[in-house]
Amino acid sequence: MSRDVAVARPLAPPRTEPVTVDARGMHYRDLNARLHELVRQGVESIAITGVAGQRYLGTSVQAPVRITIHGVPGNDLGAFMDGPYIEVLGDAQDGCGNTMNGGTIVIHRSAGDIVGHSMRGGKILVRGNVGYRVGIHMKEYASVRPVIVIGGTAQHFLGEYMAGGVMVVLGLGLAPGEPHPSRYVGTGMHGGVIYMRGAVSTTFLGKEVGLVPMEPEDEWLVQGLVRDFGAQFGLDPDPLISSHYVKLAPLTRRPYGRLYAY
């Protein structure tokens, strides 16, 4: 596998003292301005405390800065970012990593809808469950391939209109043999790949995807991502690696090619 996805690139330990920003009562514009200012000053580690729904945190930051978030960040966390490592110690809301280009977002609990919306590169790791339309329209180009790994399970329309990239759904928390509740997975999908650990309901699968046998290349890819996930959250990856995975891939590159032009 030549493409650069499975290798986690942990940031080098920060060389500057961590800076703490108290976000209580702060508007997102002021908070983001403060973040950008600290990054410009060369600060490599920032902790934001008292976060309560401030949107767009870390948007467009293009530096390998480590940002730790205490509280619930608002929608579109890390949108358009390229390089930071953002760690959310609790839950996150909708649209994390919207159109992100590079870097890592780690969420220790659950995340909402449209995680990784139109994501172009980088990695999102969610320890818990995620909402609707996760990975919608993620895409890849040449060697740049975005990755989303979900520890729990996903609600409906996972990978909707997915055009590229890799998603892994581990199903931690599902009972043995319990299928993922996710319906309409891969609706409109025309690129990329989704791996789901355990059983997948085919009754309500998206019309544009099929279940494809795992090849050694897939096993290798999933192993790397699961090890990375395990290392991130302090989980033993071995039982996850030895588990059964279902691979979902698009049936055609152009599912709607004949929709408007006959």
């Binding site: 729904g53 839950d91 609707y132 409906h156 309901s201 009754t203 279902v246």
Partner: protein, 386 residues
């Protein structure tokens, strides 16, 4: 001068974004002042643009709990005098007063705000039930009395709303001075319809109230359907149709909230085909009977009446909704951050699926299983392990 001419400070009629919703019920019936609800909806300031905000409160008027509380908006003294005259001819008015409010920077040109505590005169009801009489009179006032609107008309509840940001509207109406066991709140970003005092959420009729994020793409057919039953849409926006549909389905047709949710956000046809036969029969019958009350398009709502609150998102959840429980309190919100801001240590949080109602009832301790109504688990699924 029309209502619209003076109310929309931006003088546009179409802008784009989302709205914010928040609601909670204390199932023990303990009353909370309006501070928490204002803090929670204020947390989602980004979801609105100052063209509408409002609050609904239940358990609001213990001293008048046997009487209907009419909150009214009037454009002029003449309009209020005509309304006053009308109300005294059709009801026994027990008490009336201006709705207390503060002067708040940024709240411009409020209408005259008054409340009446009243009950119907039996001689006027001519065979109608008390509730039907109230509905009829509210519709009559809202369509025929120029310059006057009844914005809420239930017992022991009230709606406080207007053009402004949620913190301004809370301050304006002094909601911190009221106590209620159930509060809902709205932060408006009008999309397809004007921002004006009557068009702010919540919308109410009898003790129903509804706050809504999204749009009802099927509004035309929904409106025609409720109009067949005597409801009149007068607020120049789609949301009020939810309140009238709720009144029709749950009061007049005595359906449960779970069934009403299955009407308004019914399962998709292909899901229906995989249900057990008796469930298929039920859901088909609902579609056949109430197909015109299917609310199509993206929405999340919080619907409330005395003793009960229901959160519901459209069947493919095109608008966000999260639910949380802390002890005897059930929360429903557009965003989790708002819940955490007022209750940092919730017992349980979840994201209800589209079409799956979240219901809180007075006297029933909330849990996810008794808050979630008709579950999607009843569908038989084929499972594949390649």
């Amino acid at each position: 001068m029309s209502w619209a001419a003076c109310e929309n400070r931006y003088h546009d009629d179409k802008v784009f974004d989302a709205c914010g919703l928040f609601g909670f019920i204390d199932t023990r019936g303990e009353r909370h002042d309006g501070t928490a609800i204002a803090t929670a909806i204020g947390c989602m300031a980004e979801r609105g643009n100052g063209l509408g905000a409002g609050y609904a409160a239940y358990g609001l008027y213990p001293e008048f709990h046997e009487h209907y509380a009419f909150h009214v908006m009037c454009q002029s003294d003449q309009a209020r005098s005509a309304l006053d005259d009308y109300l005294r001819r059709h009801f026994a008015v027990v008490h009336d007063e201006p709705i207390p409010h503060r002067t708040v920077p940024g709240i411009l040109d409020p209408p005259i705000l008054w409340r009446y505590f009243l009950f119907p005169l039996s001689t006027q009801m001519v065979g109608r039930s008390e509730e039907d009489y109230i509905v009829h009179q509210v519709m009559t006032i809202n369509t025929r009395l120029e310059g006057s609107l009844v914005v809420s008309s239930g017992k022991d509840m009230g709606i406080f709303k207007g053009v402004g940001h949620p913190d301004q509207i809370a301050e304006f109406y002094r909601i911190d001075e009221y106590g209620a066991y159930l509060w809902t709140a709205h932060n408006r970003f009008p999309t397809n319809t004007p921002g004006w005092w009557g068009g702010a959420h919540p919308f109410g009729l009898l003790d129903w109230s509804v706050v809504h994020n999204g749009e009802i793409s099927s509004y035309g057919i929904n409106r025609r359907y409720v109009e067949m039953y005597g409801y009149r849409c007068t607020m120049r926006t789609d949301t009020e149709v939810f309140a009238y549909a709720a009144d029709l389905l749950m009061r007049r047709h005595a359906l449960s909230p779970e069934i009403a949710a299955a009407v308004m956000a019914s399962p998709l046809w292909n899901e229906l085909e995989h249900m057990a036969p008796h469930q298929q029969a039920l859901y088909r019958a609902l579609r056949q009977t109430y197909g015109q009350l299917l609310m199509n398009g993206p929405f999340a709502i919080i619907l409330a009446r005395s003793g009960e609150m229901m959160g519901l998102a459209d069947r493919i959840r095109l608008r966000p909704l999260v639910a949380a429980i802390k002890g005897d309190l059930l929360y429903v919100s557009s965003e989790l951050s708002a819940v955490h801001l007022v209750e940092p240590r919730v017992d349980h949080v979840w994201m209800p699926q589209g079409g799956e109602p979240v219901i809180g009832r007075l006297g029933t301790r909330p849990s996810q299983s008794n808050a979630a109504g008709a579950s999607t688990a009843m569908v038989s699924q084929e499972v594949s392990r390649v």
